[in-house]
């Protein structure tokens, strides 16, 4: 578990204003109540009484940090040191550590004098993002071991949440007490890239996708993501919502196909065509669905813009659609190649990947065997799709996902590198080269096609 950055003694059950979320969660578990409270308090001051409130906390002997003393008022729990409270003047609220509040008998039940600058004191509650809730609920549900625990309740939930954050942290942090992480990180530190990029032989490639337009038709892109500063990005929406990705699927796919060569800090390389031009076509809404002919409209746009590589991590279950076959043929006729995900239903390849004019991608696990979820039948090539680390909309910045959706941008990124090798390396020629250069695998072509995609 993360150490208290202040190095102060912080026994379980106690909370400071600067306690990390992990510490607060552990303390809540230790208390064993069903409140979802963090142990800290939020004090709201009366209108215009912020400064007076700040003073009143000071007169009670609290060490108070003022958000105005931080750059851009970005006071975070990590940088307030050993303060008992932090005041946010813009919203007239102070966050007070549980210990400091207890010492002064402050709490939600406290009577507030009529001349006090304080409007109300409320317990702070944990806030969970929807995806964390899902993972935590899932982990809780699967953790019914025979130790007599009832498998439900807030404690189980919090425990599940902690495990979920651990799982996520595993992929983001470098070894701090996690055996699995140590192994993963040693490999990543030595090779400096994700497992997917390594098996596709991307790091030794001399190509960068320079001058190649890569269209990713998905949920859009997190414009302004710090890993993509200075990159040419053309966005277009076909669903009536801004290109800005509020889903995460599109940002993740673009990260793999086009992400940077050297992301900041110790983050492993996760992107392939790091000098390609990004065409982010939003054909799926922020809820992940598509309306009307927006997918076809996006394909039309990408071909009209002569993007040699068009990546589509989307689809549906059903037979071949003539419209997609026509779009795939139009792409090939115009020097473009559409690469699409076979799908994750452990069934026959869905549309649009099942069209004969569209390259269909299956997913591989780290063992280079087909992923259990990966569709089969019409499969042209395979790529890493399980546990793929890539970019995510801020503030998450990175996330790990699995699916043929994640395999497809590996092929698209490698296709961009191949396309850079020659202006003739386009359309069907590019398709054939990707298949001819693929690493053969000991599985049927119905599962892995020509094999594992390789960079030039």
């Amino acid at each position: 578990m993360a150490k208290n950055k202040n190095g102060s003694a912080n026994s379980a059950g106690n909370t400071n204003a600067s306690s990390s979320v992990d510490e607060l969660l552990l303390a809540a578990l230790e208390r064993g109540d069903d409140s979802f409270e963090t142990g800290r308090y939020l004090v709201t001051f009366k209108d215009g009484a912020g400064d007076q409130g700040l003073q009143s906390l000071g007169t009670q002997g609290m060490r108070v940090a003022d958000a105005r003393d931080f750059d851009g008022q970005a006071a975070t729990l990590e940088n307030i040191g050993d303060a008992d409270a932090v005041v946010f003047p813009e919203i007239g609220v102070a966050l007070i550590g549980g210990n400091a509040a207890q010492e002064r008998s402050m709490g939600a039940q406290m009577e507030i004098a009529s001349d006090s600058p304080i409007e109300i004191i409320e317990p702070e509650h944990f806030v969970f993002a929807e995806q964390f809730f899902r993972e935590a609920a899932y982990l809780s549900a699967t953790k019914t071991n025979g130790n007599g625990s009832n498998g439900g309740g807030v404690n189980e939930y919090l425990r599940g949440f902690l495990e979920a954050t651990d799982t996520i942290t595993k992929h983001l942090q470098h070894g701090k007490g996690y055996t699995e992480v140590d192994e993963l990180d040693e490999e990543t530190m030595v090779l400096g890239a994700t497992w997917g990029l390594n098996v596709c032989k991307v790091p030794p490639s001399l190509r960068s996708g320079l001058g190649i337009r890569v269209a990713v038709l998905d949920t859009g892109f997190n414009i302004g993501h710090p890993d993509f500063v200075g990159r040419p990005i053309i966005g277009a929406t076909f669903v009536g919502q801004p290109v800005q990705d509020l889903h995460s699927h599109g940002t993740h796919c673009i990260g793999t196909a086009c992400g940077p060569k050297s992301p900041a800090g110790t983050t492993p390389r996760y992107g392939i065509g790091y000098r390609s031009s990004i065409f982010a076509g939003k054909v799926l809404s922020n809820t992940g669905s598509s309306v009307g002919g927006s997918v076809l409209a996006g394909m039309n746009w990408a071909i009209a813009n002569r993007c040699p590589v068009i990546s589509m991590s989307l689809g549906g279950t059903g037979g071949v659609q003539a419209a997609y076959t026509a779009a795939g043929q139009a792409a090939l006729n115009n020097g473009c190649l559409i690469i699409a995900a076979a799908g994750n239903s452990s069934g026959p390849t869905g549309y649009p990947a099942n069209s004969p004019t569209i390259m269909s991608v299956a997913s591989l696990d780290m063992s280079l065997s087909p992923s259990s979820f990966s569709n089969f039948g019409k499969v042209d090539i395979a790529a890493p799709g399980r546990d793929v680390f890539s970019s995510a909309p801020m503030p998450r910045r990175y996330t790990t996902m699995s699916g043929t959706s994640m395999a497809t941008p590996h092929v698209a990124g490698c296709a961009a590198l191949w396309a850079e090798t020659s202006p003739n390396m386009r359309g069907l020629t590019l398709w054939r080269r990707l298949q001819a250069s693929a690493k053969r695998l000991p599985f049927s072509t119905a599962r892995v096609g020509a094999g594992l995609v390789q960079a030039p």
């Binding site: 929807e130 899902r134 799926l284 922020n286």
Partner: protein, 79 residues
């Protein structure tokens, strides 16, 4: 009157797109998008009209617009 549905009309390439689009409209197809690069036209019509569209020269296929849904953010199953 049968409910209108969304359809994708794919061209065979035997006739100019503009000419076929004109005939689609005349047959009662409410044209939404003309996607000239990929040779498709999307729009709405009831089943009877869709059946008639299939018989027009230059039309290769008339398909109910396919559903696409990868699920909400971080859904356990996406595409």
């Amino acid at each position: 009157m049968a409910a209108k549905k969304r359809w994708t009309v794919t061209m065979s390439g035997e006739k100019p797109l503009s000419e076929v689009t004109k005939h689609l409209r005349e047959t009662g197809f409410d044209v939404d998008q003309v996607l000239d690069v990929i040779g498709c036209v999307t729009g709405t019509a009831n089943d009877d009209v869709a059946a008639r569209l299939r018989k027009l020269p230059g039309v290769a296929a008339v398909e109910a617009e396919p559903g696409i849904d990868i699920g909400p953010p971080d859904a356990p199953i996406t595409w």
